[in-house]
């Protein structure tokens, strides 16, 4: 086992905002090349966890390492080895496709000799070879997201964090986006992705279900569904898994109180 077999290691991670516990004692590991899905309703703590992993937020307690670097102690080293794309479209609308790629290449310090090659790769990946001179604001949603992903991986980061990358994108474009994620995984990138589209969970190698700041279930989509299989529900979907897990959790919480 190489030392980087586990590219993301989270151990007893806690994040509090005042009295509110956004991330409550989360521990998990993600292997190299894995597509790891983070599922949960809005406000479950998915984005907060990702932001801690990207060294955007400091953890209250616990340890997290990404690509071998501690997010609390070596935030700048972490930033050199990750790509990040958030649900908010985060490229410059008033720059052209080419200018956006050029800008992020410069910011990430992509070596000059491979810059053209990376640029061509990003354009091909986003399917925008013909649109290099187009103003980014004129692109349709799906293309924008693919361009954002292309810009986030110009520096070939070992770990890529995608925070609800497909929200607000039509189903066809979503499908195309997941093809890209698979491609990245095959190329050896670890992909850590949050979503609230249940059918997208099926495309992940493993998923963690997050609810009220805690991971309530973790496994392959197949395993999770198998746990729920019964005579009344012979073919449970991920949505069924999701709903029943949350109901069970709510019941446990209510039981604990009374």
């Amino acid at each position: 086992m190489t030392p980087h077999e586990n590219t993301v290691i989270i151990d007893k991670l806690v994040k509090r905002f005042g009295d509110f516990v956004a991330v409550d004692d989360v521990s998990l590991t993600v292997k190299r090349g894995e597509i790891f899905g983070f599922l949960g309703p809005n406000g479950a703590g998915k984005s907060t966890t990702i932001r801690i992993l990207c060294a955007l937020l400091a953890p209250t307690s616990g340890v997290a390492t990404v690509a071998g670097y501690d997010v609390a102690r070596e935030p700048e080293a972490v930033k050199l080895h990750i790509g990040y794309m958030s649900q908010k479209f985060s490229l410059y609308d008033d720059l052209t496709v080419g200018e956006n790629i050029e800008f992020f290449s410069g910011i990430y310090g992509v070596p000059r000799d491979i810059r053209d090659e990376r640029r061509a790769y990003a354009l091909r990946m986003a399917g925008l070879e013909e649109k290099e001179q187009t103003k980014t604001s004129l692109l349709a949603g799906g293309w924008k997201q693919r361009l954002a992903l292309g810009c986030a991986i110009l520096h070939q980061p070992p770990v890529v964090f995608l925070d609800e990358p497909t929200s607000g994108v039509d189903p066809l474009a979503r499908r195309a986006f997941w093809d890209l994620i698979n491609e990245l995984s095959h190329a050896g990138h670890t992909v850590f992705v949050t979503t609230h589209y249940m059918e997208e969970a099926e495309y992940c190698h493993r998923v963690a279900l997050m609810y009220r700041g805690r991971v309530i279930s973790l496994g392959t989509p197949h395993d999770l569904r198998k746990q729920l299989r019964s005579d009344t529900l012979p073919e449970p979907t991920m949505e069924d898994v999701f709903v029943s897990m949350i109901e069970r959790e709510d019941a446990a919480l209510a039981g604990g109180k009374s």
Partner: protein
Amino acid sequence: MNFERIREIIVKELRQSFREPRTRALMFIPPIIQFLVFGFVVNLDVERSKLAWYDQDNSPASRELRASFESSEYFIVTNTPSNPAELQDLMDRESVHSGVVVPPGFAEDLARGRSTRIQMLVEGTNSNTASILVNYASDIVRTYSSGRMVDLITQKRMARGGQIAKMQAPGIDLQQRVWFNPELKSRNYFIPGVAVNIITIVTLMLTAMAIVREKEIGTMEQLMVTPIKPIELMLGKTLPFAVVGLFDLTLIVILGILVFRIPFAGNAFLLLGASILFLFTTLGVGILISTVSNTQQQANLSTFFFFQPAFMLSGFAFPIRSMPEPVQWLTMVNPLRYFVEICRGVFLKGSGFDVLWPQFAALAVFGFCIITFSALRFHKRLD
């Protein structure tokens, strides 16, 4: 520090600013408009003020006095009311700024060597203009009056069979010499201050906006997960606007000299040096504002929260020496004050560094403190 990353930010910033017609215009049009407005409109000088002349005496002497008013460049007689009600009406409707009432028997009193009075009514809503008018009027009346006195004394001597045809009235003649602004034009006083005003607002606003806009659209979060260092981001975000600010300043100095004929007595490089020092303050405050604002509206409000008092206490329009003493102390911690002093000194007096060094030192201290403080506040974390 990685200069390539700074360059990338600068290139991007310039592309964005110059591509959008609206922002392109914002960088240069308002400064020019503001400059022209201040140059042409803000004028406290009183010239050709409208005067109503209510002559109840209608004598050669009263007509002579009226001629002295009219021959000055300060008054022009626009109305000659024939009764008090008419004069009152003219004042009410602000058709005239002031009125002079010459009482009956004016000429007779003068001829007999008796003291006499005339009345002046002044529209006092603008106290400054009013007191200037009263000063001009009393000068005119005094001159007229001493002329009459000399005539009178001369006549008496001649009646007594004196030899001297005309004598000099004994008295003290005040020889006035106004330095630095010999024509006493308020424009000369204001324009150097306008330069300060514009460079402050442009750099403060553009910097704060450029950072907050990125927060709003979400690209700031994207930048924060890149390896860029806060200092690189700060420099990349401020240098383009420093250049725009210096360009605006140069434009204003040239326009001021060419259009308004403002004297520029000093050294242009000294002014440039002071401007660069001053930019540390405005850019620093701009960054500081961006760290406490999440939306462009908040940034706008915060900008004015800083700018308005700083402007009032800069001595740009209201002389610091007429402020209450505690307020005068307050102006000591206002960087704008020092830059206004430098601008006026360089423009009008041709002062050099040997005179202005305390102001330079103050600007350097403020710039250093503010930029350091805002750099410490400018993190790459969200919490």
